[in-house]
């Protein structure tokens, strides 16, 4: 197609959007609704994932050393553990630090609870271990248990497994939710455009009569679909920005919020997904509703 035709048809597509502006607005609204749902699903799963990641990283495996060993010996044991298969990190926690972090967790008020006999610290030296693959949890834990100098392993196996299955569930659910939303968007957009098609039957029949190719007829419709998609993506992104900010603000009042994923970290990928979805939904939606007319050769769809 000639560049000149492309220019002309692009302008025609934009004009059509304006002529059918009610339908254009309806299409954008539908797309925005789908994208908002999808965005909510994505952002929710991102945050859950991050929270789970924190859980996963938090000393899921705490290895306590036998009593009566020197710190040097215990550090060597930590190194042995670090070299084991499937161990991502092994951090040595001397008994003093262990108490501090315990106090941190329970708050200043609890300090009295931990005031023991002068200078005595009841906690043993420990090694905090992070694993690579939670599926090999059991094998790795028993390997750690066999290391010389290890007294006990506090394994939080349940938590680890639960984290694992929750994140799998969220991934699967997210996949289906997003798939369904894409299909919904397509169906609704093509239906919306089909409604405007009725008023354009005359125009299409004239185009056919004067020798327009199907691509020539399609072009303005595709332009229209693409512009609708891009507009919807942009608007959705702005809405998400403000809503997310408000939600985080509200949560901050009551709970910890440092854990939340910042908007900027998913802004571009999410916008990319929305643009792709919007453009596809708009373009494919308009092509679907146009197909019926393009298969005909003229006045079968006469306006009268």
């Amino acid at each position: 197609m000639k560049l000149r035709s492309i220019k002309y048809l692009t302008v025609e597509g934009l004009k059509n959007m304006w002529v059918n502006r009610l339908m254009s607005i309806a299409s954008i609204a539908v797309l925005i609704a789908c994208m908002l749902l999808m965005g909510a699903a994505i952002i929710f799963s991102l945050n859950v994932d991050k929270a789970l990641g924190v859980l996963r990283d938090q000393s899921i495996v705490m290895v306590y050393m036998q009593d009566g060993r020197s710190e040097v010996e215990n550090k060597a044991t930590a190194n042995t553990i670090r070299d084991l298969d499937n161990v991502k990190e092994a951090t040595f926690v001397p008994q003093a630090e262990g108490l501090e972090s315990l106090l941190d967790t329970f708050g200043e008020d609890a300090e009295s609870l931990f005031t023991f006999v002068e200078g005595e610290n009841p906690l043993p030296d420990a090694v905090q271990v992070k694993l690579d693959d939670l599926n090999r949890f059991d094998a790795t834990v028993s390997a750690i248990q066999k290391v010389e100098g290890v007294d006990s392993v506090n394994s939080m196996r349940e938590t680890a497994m639960r984290v694992n299955s929750i994140s799998r569930l969220i991934n699967i659910a997210g996949f289906w939710i997003i798939g369904l939303l894409i299909i919904t968007a397509l169906v609704i957009i093509s239906n919306t455009i089909r409604i405007t098609m009725n008023s354009r039957k005359l125009e299409i029949s004239i185009m056919k009569a004067v020798g327009a190719t199907n691509n020539f007829i399609r072009f303005p419709f595709v332009v229209e679909g693409v512009v609708l998609g891009v507009a919807a993506a942009g608007i959705t992104m702005v809405i998400i920005y403000f809503v997310y900010k408000a939600v985080l603000g509200a949560i901050q009042e009551s709970m910890m919020t440092q854990g939340a994923v910042p908007f900027t970290s998913f802004m571009w990928p999410l916008l990319g997904i929305f643009l792709l979805l919007g453009v596809l939904a708009g373009a494919i939606g308009s092509l679907i509703s146009l197909g019926k007319y393009l298969r005909k050769e003229g006045s079968e769809f006469r306006a009268y």
Partner: protein, 234 residues
């Protein structure tokens, strides 16, 4: 009639058309139309006139027989070639079919935009076509602001603007008053004088008598009269 002037521009060989409803709209039609001919197609309602036109412009395909128009064999034509066939012809409709949201100029320019003409070429050719139909001063008006006769002249300008080798018109005067009918046929005659083949379906017998051209008469899907060899052009 220049019957001897080479291959026909339109040829029907043993053509039949039966719609899916079972209506036999055309039965064993054989016809040759040559370059420069002016042909009226007449017949009662339901005789098959519109079907004849639809087969010519490949809006419908025949069940049997072969149709050749401007070198395109309808039995072999590919979907992608149909637009090329249509660009060799100017089609005029009974209901004008102007785009209401476009002014006269843009309606006529439509034909040229489809082929990707430059805006300079468009301006030149549209102006010329509008002056042929006598609407040079109404190019900025919209279809709703014109009379039926004027609208049909815009339709005619749109049909001729890209110099087609033939004009195909299905009852172009069906929606305009008798005086305007005359003017439109006069215009078609003028266009025909410049070498463009014209095929025009009409109900108006008076018109056919007054313009004294080749007449193909259809009845129940068959040709019952054709004065092709009758030596017209008196």
């Amino acid at each position: 009639m220049q019957t001897a002037a080479g291959a026909p521009i339109i040829e029907f060989k043993g053509v039949s058309k039966t719609y899916t409803t079972g209506t036999h709209a055309l039965k064993d039609i054989n016809i040759k139309i040559y370059k420069g001919d002016f042909v009226f197609v007449v017949g009662a309602s339901g005789a098959g006139k519109s079907t004849f036109i639809k087969l010519m412009i490949h809006e419908e395909a025949p069940n049997t027989g072969e149709i050749i128009v401007n070198g395109f064999r309808m039995s072999e034509i590919r979907r992608s070639q149909v637009p090329l066939l249509r660009r060799t012809m100017g089609i005029v409709f009974q209901d004008f079919r102007l785009i209401p949201t476009m002014n006269v100029f843009d309606n006529v320019a439509f034909t040229l935009r489809v082929v990707g003409a430059s805006s300079r070429e468009i301006r030149k050719k549209v102006t010329a076509a509008l002056s042929v139909v006598g609407l040079g001063n109404k190019s900025r008006m919209f279809p709703a602001e014109l009379s039926g006769g004027e609208q049909q002249r815009v339709g005619l300008a749109r049909a001729i603007v890209n110099n087609p080798s033939m004009i195909i018109a299905d009852e172009p005067t069906g929606n305009v008053d008798p005086n305007m009918s005359y003017e439109i046929v006069e215009l078609l005659t003028e266009i025909n004088r410049r070498g463009t083949t014209v095929v025009m379906v009409t109900h108006e017998h008076q018109l056919v008598r007054d313009f004294n051209r080749r007449v193909i008469m259809l009845e129940n899907g068959t040709i019952v009269a054709d004065n092709a060899d009758g030596g017209l052009e008196s």
